[in-house]
Amino acid sequence: MTTPDPMTDEAKRLRAAQELLDERPRPDVRARVLRAAAESAHGHRVDKTTRRAPSERAARRWFEWRPMAAAGATAVAILAVGIALRVERETSNEAPAAPSMSTPQPPAAAPATAASPAAAPAAAPPATEPAVQSPARMQAPAAPRAALRRQAAPVNPDDWLRRIVELRRAGKATQADEELARFRAAFPNVNVPADALK
């Protein structure tokens, strides 16, 4: 690389002459150029500011996203409530039919079914015992599960016998016989009165 020769007389003369004449551009040129530079760099400056204060940037980002987060949380809450209500409604629709359609279960039968939910659907028809046998029902909210527990709980033998007697008086002998068979299985040691037998 060849560097300028500082000892060249003409180079010295040129520099001396230019220093003496002190030639400068108009000041407004500088002002215009610097203004254009500032405008050009404006977008970058914002980024630099945010780079210097990461916590501030995080806070700003949180404020920007907060409405969306709130909306999302609200939607999830509404969905959860909707699911809970639907489950409860389904359970309550089935609950009134349970005492009439299904006979009271023997005390040992309910725990056995609950202990082996996978095997239960094969043991009993889903139409009559879905609330206890379905695994989804096992995760039902507290209120429906309490209803299920009440349904599966052993009933009073006297009430059960009284219902059998009512069935016979109503002329529903077949149904009364089925109920009696279940009663005997559940309470083998209880004496059955005569009006429940005929």
């Binding site: 500082p6 010295k12 003369r13 040129l14 004449l21 551009p25 215009r32 400056r45």
Partner: protein, 202 residues
């Protein structure tokens, strides 16, 4: 006379340009103040009219701002800057003085006596003369520089005022380093001849 440390100067320029590309306006202000007058003088010597030089100076720096994102720190900033300035000058001449463009590509000594360097020896007593230069002499010397053929003037100014090497000037002007060297020699010889009456009177 001010002699710059080219290596340190260039590094600082490139660092400042990188900072400006990242949005630092103060870095641009520094680099502008550092080169404003040299670029202005280069333009003024080339077009002779201060108002035109002002206009071109603004265009040069607007180009620097526009092209800053494309600037690669590997390139010497001064070379890049003068290449932009030369491009603006060529645009100016193409629009207003097309004949100057033709002279920019003339051979080194086409307008100059081939034996000029021999008949006009270097002036050994130049230093006191330079020190004693008055305003009239300064104007006369600057006018002599402006009267140089375009290619010689360009090479001389880039070498003397912008402190660029022959190779750097060659890369800016698109000519060979030897051609640049010849142009500078012819320019120097011509300036000696033109300033001879001033020396005689002194």
């Amino acid at each position: 006379m001010q002699v710059r440390d080219d290596s340190c100067q260039s590094e600082a320029d490139e660092s400042l340009m990188s900072r400006f590309a990242g949005g630092d306006v103060l870095a641009f202000e520094q680099i502008y103040d550092r080169h404003e007058r040299a670029i202005y003088r280069f333009l003024l010597r080339s077009v002779h009219i201060p108002a035109v030089a002002d206009e071109l100076l603004q265009e040069v720096w607007m180009s620097v701002i526009r092209y800053a994102p494309n600037y690669k720190p590997q390139a010497l900033f001064t070379t890049w800057l003068y290449r932009i300035a030369r491009s603006r000058l060529i645009d100016h001449w193409r629009a207003r003085e097309p004949e100057v463009l033709e002279r920019l590509h003339e051979p080194a000594g086409s307008d100059c006596d081939a034996t000029l360097m021999d008949v006009v020896p270097a002036d050994a007593s130049a230093q006191p003369e330079v020190q004693a230069m008055d305003r009239a002499q300064a104007r006369a010397f600057v006018a002599a520089v402006e009267d140089l053929p375009a290619a010689q003037r360009e090479a001389f100014l880039l070498h003397v005022d912008a402190s660029l090497t022959y190779e750097q000037i060659a890369s800016i002007t698109g000519s060979g380093a030897e051609t640049v060297k010849s142009r500078i020699r012819y320019a120097t010889a011509k300036l000696r001849t033109m300033m001879q009456p001033w020396r005689d009177s002194a």
